[in-house]
Symmetry: C2
Subunit: 495 residues, 2 copies
């Protein structure tokens, strides 16, 4: 008889947490996609009550003992990995004093609320007043977590989204990118200057866009018996692994963005739908990290979705809805979807300029948290880096500069995940293309199975069984290597 008493007790607690989390996830999706405005107050109260309950469950005094005791029990490797992830979740909830959590949440709410109008008003000074307090508390949190975990302060926050990742490694990788990205952008822009891109002619009725999106999701293997597509202001992938809810938003004058957005969210969704079912109620059954999650959406959106084969595959589907326009030739679609143009706004950035936006934010937030710069230093640094990386002048334009993102009203350490995801995706596809040299032809013919099979076997089915580094090594045979990312970008944009 195996000794697993403490482990089984923990397992039961985390199962309850998962089930309460299910209700919170569905209520959250509903709030964004379905709920009428007057439901907001009651929903917020109900969600807060659920949060209090879940916090009580995971801060119950017996858990610490059980986590300790379970370390000595007879666990198989998957259970041991689950115990590691339980401890992570427990730490996230238990390491900070309640007063700090409370203070952070108040400061964040105040800062975010004011930011909504301050951004419109280009009011950096107004934002700064609240931002100082947010930063002070984030530094306090970082110092506390850093001391407990024996890492640097910024790394302590980074660890929430990218467990095990060190900012020194990110800095090394991003420095590499910085060494070639501005030159690459310049070369690509010179090359594209002579290319004619035909714009599609609208309008593109919402019902047809939705229909197209659904067919493309079908092609991408989304399981409609275990999920839905709906509309929300800010597209996301939510719900639960057993029932994944993705959203998009439509504009009648442009279908290109919504379609690629659906492809992106479908990548997130298939990761969730493909997570190991026998572990679905336990921490080890969850997605590995934010960066790995983004690597799935970007595998779909950037690697597969903008590939020549895929554009050939969907061109007829687009024509069927919106008419036989020359803009819908695969060649032109490829030019449309790979157009490079540096701009102010991260979320509107193209594949090539996007990492510049991320690196800039990483460098600034790391220096902020580690105390090397102060809140008031942000705009000058922003201007300097935008000019250096993208040749764009943002002086005095806070609205489209350092005020554009919501993240810093309460989150530091998240930005790197976006570009790490893009890099992991490039690395997967380097392997995939080596294994299947005819990938584009197969995709163009509608056979996407090599991509799905590989991701299912190496990423989706693995949940959180391994650390991120182990996961990537097992999948690709090496640690994260930005050379694949560079090679991908050069092949796509300079070929």
């Amino acid at each position: 008889m195996l000794n697993q008493k403490a482990y089984q007790s923990l397992s039961h607690t985390f199962q309850r947490l998962h089930r309460f989390g299910h209700l919170g996830a569905i209520a959250g999706w509903d709030q964004a996609a379905m709920m009428p405005p007057k439901g907001n107050e009651a929903r917020a109260a109900a969600q807060a009550e659920l949060q209090v309950l879940m916090h009580q469950l995971i801060t119950a005094p017996q858990l610490q003992e059980q986590l300790q005791a379970a370390e000595q029990e007879d666990l198989d490797p998957a259970q041991r990995a689950n115990l590691r992830e339980m401890r992570r979740e427990w730490q996230q909830a238990n390491l900070l004093p309640a007063e700090l959590v409370e203070a952070k949440s108040l400061a964040a709410a105040r800062c975010e609320h004011a930011w909504r109008s301050q951004r419109k008003d280009n009011d950096w000074q107004g934002f700064l007043a609240n931002f100082r307090e947010v930063l002070r508390l984030a530094r306090e949190e970082a110092a506390l977590l850093a001391q407990i975990n024996g890492v640097s302060r910024y790394d302590a926050l980074l660890d929430k989204y990218e467990p095990g990742m060190k900012s020194a490694d990110i800095a090394r990788i991003f420095d590499d990118v910085k060494s070639w990205l501005p030159g690459l952008i310049e070369a690509v822009r010179a090359k594209q200057a002579g290319e004619a891109v035909i714009q599609p002619t609208g309008p593109f009725p919402v019902a047809l866009q939705r229909d197209l999106g659904l067919e493309v999701m079908q092609l991408l293997g989304f399981d409609f018996d275990a999920g839905r597509l709906d509309v929300s202001n800010h597209p996301f992938c939510g719900g639960v692994p057993e029932d994944v809810r993705i959203t998009t938003r439509y504009r009648e004058d442009d279908f290109v963005q919504s379609l690629m957005g659906i492809i992106h969210e479908t990548g997130h969704a298939r990761y969730e739908q493909g997570l190991p079912r026998q572990w679905v109620e336990q921490p080890v059954g969850r997605a590995r990290s934010m960066g790995i999650h983004e690597s799935q959406s970007l595998s779909f959106e950037m690697q597969l979705g903008r590939s020549r084969g895929f554009l050939e595959l969907i061109a007829p589907l687009i024509r069927r809805r919106f008419g036989d326009q020359p803009a819908f030739e695969a060649d032109n679609l490829a030019r449309l979807y790979t157009r490079v143009e540096p701009g102010y706004i991260r979320v509107d950035a193209d594949e090539l300029c996007y990492p510049a936006h991320v690196i800039l934010r990483f460098e600034i937030e790391r220096a902020l948290i580690n105390g090397e710069i102060e809140a008031e230093d942000v705009p000058a640094l922003w201007d300097e880096k935008m000019m250096a990386y993208l040749g764009i002048d943002t002086r005095g334009n806070y609205r489209d500069g350092c005020l554009q993102d919501i993240h810093w009203t309460d989150t530091f350490g998240y930005f790197p995940s976006y570009t790490l995801g893009a890099m992991y995706a490039a690395q997967y596809f380097a392997v995939l293309r080596r294994q299947e040299p005819n990938l584009d032809a197969r995709v163009a013919a509608g056979d996407l199975s090599p991509v799905f099979d590989w991701l299912q076997a190496h990423i989706w089915s693995q949940g959180s069984l391994w650390t991120t580094d182990e996961l990537v090594r097992r999948a690709t045979g090496e640690a994260l290597n930005p050379a694949h990312y560079r090679a991908h970008l050069e092949a796509r944009y300079l070929a």
Copy 2:
């Protein structure tokens, strides 16, 4: 300083219950209206976890003491009413031993599951095997509750849906109905035999039906900022008072049923939307009873929705969607919506035949619970009563006879609510029409405010401040009086 310590503590517990109930209600709506099939297992587990939690909260040992202590505290009348309703909810959850609750739920699940195929197969003997156990446990429950509350066994179950209502009063009222209903049905059928009714010509596209339904809901004052209309297999009114979710189902070959179904659910919805907002998180802020809830849906569906004025009001809206058919003249719509034809199935019954179905079930379930008859006696009694009340022969046809409803797989005491609701509605409108003799003309002109204002003032805003009897007396000046119901039916069907 008021002494309300126990009361405030109870109030906090019931607020938490309300908020958890909110999540359960939205998840329940989602399950019926949105959820893809593979979400079912995880959703059931999450809902069950929530039920366990809520049961723990309301069976916590300190509640009994607090309920006792609060009786002695300084409470205003509304708080005192709230305390009364708290006690009711507490009793529902605490009076039965856990083993009985467990046994009931297992027997019900087994009986209902088998019933789904047994009904199709006309298999009364198969049903009987499970039904005996369901009945045995229901009698055990009834005996227990009867002893504690000092009422008869059937009344103890009835009290769950119609607090304070006695079956002797219902029997007296239903006996009155039985004395004139069969004769009235006969007279109406003779009168209608000579009338020509023109059937609308379809198809009626779902999008147009939905559009029509939404416009009619708008006319009926449904607040779309605090609720939605969606589709489900079994139409219902769910969600929470702050965000009411109603559903319907569409058939391309018939818009008449779906439209009237929407009007019915909108009646339920406005009750919920009109409940006293300052009490929304407390038991006293909830709807009074099942019968009163049904009195709202039937005020909308039967009293208002089938009234001459209302049919004149909506005739042009119907024509605008489905063309200028002679079937859509108000005269013909009135004939369509008041056609009387006895049939086997309760849920398909017209306004006039419906009470016969209910009285039959009330008489049988009351005798079953009180031990006057046994499970195997049901079919013979069913046949006898269907013949006596509606002149319909159901012998050997269990499928369309005693196997047609799901209720008896776990619920006894609910059926009277349907007809009590119809009677309350008739009684309200007797008052309303006395106060506003031009009601039909005002309604035809689009002014429905007399109906809404009266229901808001006398029913919706009153929540559970009063007992049902008090509520009805305050609203109409007298206790439930079936004479109004008879007068309404005679006026509508024999005039």
